[in-house]
């Protein structure tokens, strides 16, 4: 049995320990927000945060997540109450077909939460592992820059 925390909830998994974290999330925990795009770690659609760091969940055997904290898109916000990052994606038009969006959001959230700089070049570097075929990235970069700026202002006020 493997124990892990998924979106702040303790979960137990019984089954082959080399099952992909992606499949455990989607099939065993019914968290289908995380998507498969290529199955070989190239497209980033399956990105989740493992102990705060973005990983391709198609390349992570569930055993490797034992005792870890996993965060998926479902942890951010619901459609009736979007998180500031999701809201910014909506306003900037950063999601088109939406299939890369959950993975893109998780990479972006790790970046913003980690205090990443609010300039387009740094954001582009941070998102380079997440492929999107619809948007040309322009509106995604704008949404992340905007959220990073807001996050910085928030932190400055808190200080």
């Amino acid at each position: 049995m493997i124990e892990l925390t998924v979106n702040r909830k303790k979960r137990r998994y019984r089954g082959p320990s080399f099952k992909r974290l992606l499949d455990v999330l989607r099939e065993d925990f019914e968290l289908t927000g995380t998507k498969e795009g290529c199955g070989e770690g190239e497209c980033g659609a399956c990105t989740v945060l493992l102990d705060g760091e973005p990983v391709n969940s198609c390349l992570v055997p569930v055993a490797q997540a034992e005792g870890s904290r996993v965060e998926t898109v479902e942890s951010l916000g619901a459609s009736s109450r979007l998180s500031p990052l999701q809201q910014s994606f909506l306003e900037e038009g950063a999601a088109q077909c939406g299939i890369c969006t959950p993975g893109m959001l998780m990479t972006a959230w790790a970046y913003v939460r980690g205090g990443g700089p609010a300039d387009p070049e740094s954001v582009r570097t941070a998102l380079a592992g997440n492929l999107c075929r619809c948007t040309g990235y322009q509106h995604i970069v704008a949404a992340v820059v905007e959220t990073a700026k807001r996050e910085k202002r928030k932190r400055a006020r808190a200080r």
């Binding site: 998507k35 969006t101 075929r133 040309g136």
Partner: protein
Amino acid sequence: MASVGTSFRRKEGPEKLTGEARYIDDYPLEGALHGVTLRSKVARGILRKIRFDPAFDWSSVVVATAADIPGENAVLLIEKDQPLLASRELNHLEEPILILGHSNRAKAYEALEHIEVVCDEEEPVLTMEEALADGAVFKRFEIVKGDLDAGFCDADVIVEEEYRVPHQEQAYIETNGVAAWEEEDGTLVVTGSMQCPYYVHKAMLGLFPRAPEKIRVIQTTTGGGFGGKEEYPNLIAGHAAVLSLKAKRPVKIVYDRAEDMRATTKRHPARIRHRTGVKKDGTLVAQDIDVLMDGGAYVTLSPVVLSRGILHATGPYECPNVRVVGQVVKTNTPPNGAFRGFGAPQTLFAAEMHVEKIAARLGLDALAVRRKNLFREGSVTATGQVLNESVGAKEVLDRAVAVSRYLPRKKECERWNRRKSAPSWRGVGLAAVFHGAGFTGSGEVYLQSRATVSLLPNGDIEVEAASTEIGQGTTSILASIVADALEVPYDWIRVSTPDTARVPNSGPTVASRTCMIVGGLLKRSADELRRALEREGVDWPPKPSSLKRAARKLCANGRPFGFVQEYERPREIRWDDATYRGDAYGVYGYAAMVVELEIDKITYEVTVKDVVTAQDVGRAINPLLVEGQIVGGTAQGLGYALLENVIFDKGVMANANFTNYAIPTTLDTPPMRVEIVEIPYSLGPFGAKGVGELPMDVPAPAVAAAIHQATGLFLTELPLLPERISKALHDRAHRQS
């Protein structure tokens, strides 16, 4: 507040941003089998026998072959030449032979390994040239205008060149996938990722004959299409359905990335030859253009792709004497099909590069040659179409040139390139294109599209159409159009999910037609609804309470009170299929682009530094979504130009993964400056034309022109990889020494 012209938020955005939106692979299907496909391992041959390993336990496996198809073994589209499952002739690698299902996906794949296909292999035809020599031509078209010979006699200079463009993979991030099952009442249900539910409906009807209403096709949230889910879902839907009927259980088929890349359609490769007569001042007097496309093993949509290709082959320029000959041939490779632009990116690359070549030959700037010949109001195209209105060619060119500071930037690059010590070469390139909106020729007349606007019993307004949301914003723009036609808020409009049991056939979601054609139908439906409600005494603009009151009266038995509109050919549009003369499209969109780039002198790596593009869309219904189409299409075009290299080995894609088939990442995509130009079209809803495909046409020639300035290399074949630049430089050095 008016909706049209306002960047309202995407209707389905919140679900997509939270993981609540469900794509086909997200639906749990109780008791479903996972279907996998046994495919041909030869490019051409005769199928003799299928052997099942007797040592393997087949008890929990269900297999469907061609023999299990109750109707005709043909995937209905334009022709009936493509079998759903091969039973005798094998015409390409990866051609489907049988479908196998197991409740466990891994077990299904394992079972595939225990099947042997015995066949007599034959010599395949793998190149367009071989196919042409064999006379294996699917379709030939010819466009003639004026007197070509007289035109060449008039010319001061004749410029000739041959151009080549490769396959391109759509690379939607959600692979193809569908599910199918039969309901107890005998209704065959197909649901999945698709652009055209009614195409699937038509194909299913031929394969599984039954009353049309006993086939129901429902689109699920679709993770990108770009044409790749226009016709291919017909095939995979048929596969899921035939296995489901055999197994008497639901079947789900979701391709993995490698299978999707190897087996499904791609952009047609093409060879385009130009021979052009020009005056010394750059005036075009004769254009002789020969287009050859590789259709792959079956006809699929090739005739229509070829048609759009040749209709755009002249570029957005007027020339008195023109001949365009187009042929699409059969090779033993997986069928090529729809991909954003649909033949036009191929021929427009050649057309625009040829302008660059003509300008170089005459010692003029390519901008001057363009300005001399560019379409304007009153221009006559190669098919004799008079461009009466909404001709934004000059406006987009002027805007792109001004905003990018094209001429001064070109001079600055020249100065940079003169510095021998500079680590790079720099160049600026320009291109201008046009793109017909809607189906070609009489296509819209044959489609007879229909769409409905209704008042629901609860007082809401509902839009019903089969036009799919595939990321481009269908749901939101159709809502905006209807909202303004009714003068009600955007939020009041609901757009129903494309489901053939519920929505009328508004035609396929392709050809930059959704906004202009379907939006136009919906505007008329909404106008009718409004008139009817006004007759009922509803004051306009209506209050929610008055709509509710009207609904109570008009929605008898809880049925919606709606108006359906069917497409009627506007009197102004005339087309003759036999002679290929007339109005090839109701109207065209126009785009111009200036690209600035830098090439590393050691690695030959190309970095695009700046992109400025101006695009005339008639009217931007939702400017943010229009910009989304433009920047997204531009990125795909930059990939086509610089990165995307489908490597064919013995007739099939060898680099079928994202590691070796590189599509642009954030770091390959520059910031882009977009100028939306609005020259309204009187027959489009609120003046709108199409925008979906236009942005795909323009980046490749602009990039190649910039490389031309940077290096002096005139490269005629895409993609413009560092290897190709390196070889061309080496060849040039060799010639000079």
